[in-house]
Point group: C2
């Protein structure tokens, strides 16, 4: 046991495990074995105990750990919280609530003491149980690889590392160590209630699986090690792809380049979106296959299937042109680079009107017909030309209104509901409310960026032309 | 079922599944469903049946499949082999023997018919059982990802693809399809004897696991899909690393550049060595973790731990300088690029002696001392200078002999066993037997590439110098 511990610090943890090390000590065999081992390995440690208030003996156990720390001559910190109440309040399971409060405590104490490392006592049997749980619920690589010997939990702290020096040590060796060294362990009775599922695995399913392969636990521990390595290879590949496909990192949102995503394979996308979810919400613990597949399908279809898809938790995804947005509900996504009109404004020939987002709308009149061919072949949707003689009322620009209809160029009869036109044109929904519409009375003459109205088009009999242009103001 | 099948051909298999398709048909529900589905999807198919001779009804089943093929109006091929005898002869398990003979038959028939694709009827339940078997024995990613929907089996054919169109279809849906379409299936009784282990999984362990998660099978099938994608990402990374670290591909061996391996992480190395094993021996099915770890340790230690390590099957690994060799016992590893002397030869001043591997040994005399500084600072171990006046006997070059000792330059007194010198110098063992030694009588004066003998060195009182040079002959 001790040799393994020392080897862990000399090899895997070398250069990482700077002292002091904050050790989470419950008082059970695992954590006492870890603590004793660290002391014998002459590490500078701080003992930290978290009282979950879940059992009557909890108070007594806290005192026991405190006394032990004193006997070793080590600094001791503890905290007590009503985990059950916290779980109820936040609709967490007891286990989830316990985990959150415990790690919150450990990381905050590590910061207090300037510790860069927190040691916890997960053992090889815990690892097997964890992997098996993930297996039962159909996890991907990140679950099946099990717990890492050295990791970070960015939801609690971006820098402080969590280490698991006993992850390769079996429970029976820990128990033996405790016996041989006369460590006074407390019986952790939570095992028998809070973690019923895990206990059923431990006492029933795992022994059952050992009838198929007596070396099952060792085999699974080895699998986890191998998968951890492969997970790292996948992560390295995802790192590179992230770099090359990421557009912006904003407040509560990320963008990726659609082209980069569409030319990539689904496995890479799945990993990318999983990472994006964790980036936006470090507390996301299980980005399930279905959630990820929804986004992959959305991307592969070029956003065509819908304007917006739910991702996971409060995250959603939408596309705009070449950008895929992954955002949370509170994201501050910029709309400033679109033309937006919050107040209606009159339009007069020759007088530019300023719109939100630093756009300018100008109407001017071309005397006589100058360049009909140029007009006919125009590809710039931010310019339009109309027959002056058909414009009989005052022009103004405004945002959309209930009941708006539109007769786009190329549709000789009837009209569409504006909302249908927007959908047909795949206008991102965020753009719609304040998108500028050039109107005469209630009639829409031009939707900049999209289409002008059929009735006002230039024809063979047009004599005078009105020219509209919407352009972004350059401030140099 | 049919819709899924058609979608498989239109999507995953598009552009790959050129017709005709050879279909392996046992007569059980899975293969009859597959056959019927392919016929309805209007694929051009050839029916292939392999008789394992494992059960009394086997003959009758072969006739049944033949009749069915006739009823569909399809070409039919079959073969009958004594699987049990083949297993005994080759010390294979019955399952392994059956697999080998069956695939050997299917691939050879596919070649006969010019089919580029073989379809087999593995279903989603088979997939779950396969993944669970791998899980029980502690497989890595390549096992846990399960069977691939489209793959190659290079041990049988490098090009022809094996496809599994029913891999996402559950057994119950297949049975239902067979009932609805009145397919006359044969009861495959091998299920009840040959594949006892798999049947125990099916009828006992999987239902047990479903008590932990009722959606276990679906979850596992989804896991397999996700891991398949990640396996592809890992493979892509290994491809790149293979390209950059591979030295030579020879007959029965490969070499890699030590530096490239030593700067890489263990996970990448594990995958590289697994691939090397499969490259050298396509029939290797399970390159286990321990075998791979042995090689990884050997590399990480810079070959220091031993001169040669066993890898897996008949493969072994050794290092020479910057090259790591992975080879099988019959590998034709070139020694030609080393100087080798199989026959002793006399050395005369000015007369070059040709050695094996196109090397030439020349002794010449420098009258007077020309460049003592140059000699002292020489770094070329394939040149040596000695004091002529100390050379009192005839010179010759030979390979090593029992009892050889050597007093290397820098060792003023005593001598070493030549074998110890070789070990100290880390001379690859394959080089040793015929490495040229320049001798005077029984005394070794120079070991080209390594060291000259201390007693014959140039000193302040040297007046005439003998110059030795071993060089590779260039043939332009």
């Amino acid at each position: 046991m001790l040799a393994k511990l020392v080897s862990f610090f000399d090899n895997e943890c070398a250069g990482i495990c700077v002292e002091p090390i904050l050790v989470g000590v419950s008082g059970g065999p695992d954590s006492l074995c870890l603590l004793d081992g660290l002391v014998r390995a002459q590490k500078k440690v701080i003992v930290a105990h978290f009282n979950h208030q879940l059992r009557p003996e909890a108070e007594q156990e806290a005192r026991h750990v405190s006394k032990l720390a004193a006997r070793y001559g080590l600094p001791f910190v503890s905290e007590s919280q009503d985990v059950r109440a916290f779980a109820m309040e936040n609709k967490f399971s007891i286990e989830e609530a316990a985990r959150k409060l415990r790690y919150r405590f450990l990381f905050s104490q590590a910061r207090n003491y300037g510790a860069q490392v927190i040691a916890v006592a997960h053992n090889a049997d815990d690892q097997v149980e964890t992997v098996l749980m993930h297996f039962l619920r159909g996890a991907g690589l990140s679950g099946l690889k099990g717990m890492a010997p050295i990791t970070r939990l960015p939801e609690f702290d971006p820098d402080i590392r969590l280490i698991r020096p006993l992850l390769q040590t079996w429970r029976k060796d820990i128990d033996e160590y405790c016996r041989e060294n006369h460590l006074e362990t407390v019986q952790d009775k939570t095992n028998l209630d809070q973690t019923y599922f895990r206990n059923r695995l431990r006492h029933s399913l795992i022994p059952e699986m050992e009838t198929y392969n007596p070396g099952f636990k060792q085999a699974l521990s080895r699998s986890a090690e191998s998968l951890t390595g492969d997970f790292q290879l996948v992560n390295d590949a995802v790192d590179r792809f992230w770099e090359s496909s990421l557009g912006e990192i904003g407040e509560g949102y990320l963008t990726f380049t659609l082209e980069a995503l569409q030319t990539s394979n689904p496995a890479m996308l799945r990993n990318l979106f999983r990472r994006a979810a964790t980036h936006l919400n470090p507390a996301v613990r299980d980005v399930n296959f279905e959630a990820v597949e929804r986004v992959v399908r959305f991307v592969k279809a070029g956003y065509a299937v819908s304007t917006k898809v739910d991702f996971i938790d409060d995250l959603f995804v939408f596309g705009e042109g070449n950008r895929l947005f992954i955002a949370n509900r509170y994201a501050n996504i910029p709309v400033l680079d679109w033309p937006q009109v919050k107040q209606p404004a009159n339009l007069e020939v020759g007088v530019p009107v300023l719109l939100g987002g630093d756009w300018s709308l100008l109407v001017d009149e071309n005397e006589g017909i100058k360049d009909l061919v140029g007009i006919a072949s125009n590809n710039d949707p931010f310019q339009a030309w109309m027959d002056v003689e058909l414009i009989l009322g005052n022009l103004h620009v405004r945002g959309r209104k209930e009941g708006d209809r539109f007769q786009p160029l190329g549709m000789p009869e009837g009209s569409l509901k504006l909302s249908d036109f927007f959908i047909n044109e795949k206008m991102p929904s965020r753009r719609r409310a304040f998108w500028p519409l050039v109107c005469m009375g209630d009639e829409i003459l031009w939707i900049p960026g999209y289409r002008s109205a059929h009735p006002y088009r230039i024809t063979g009999s047009t004599r005078r032309i009105l020219h509209f242009e919407l352009s972004k103001i350059s401030f140099q």
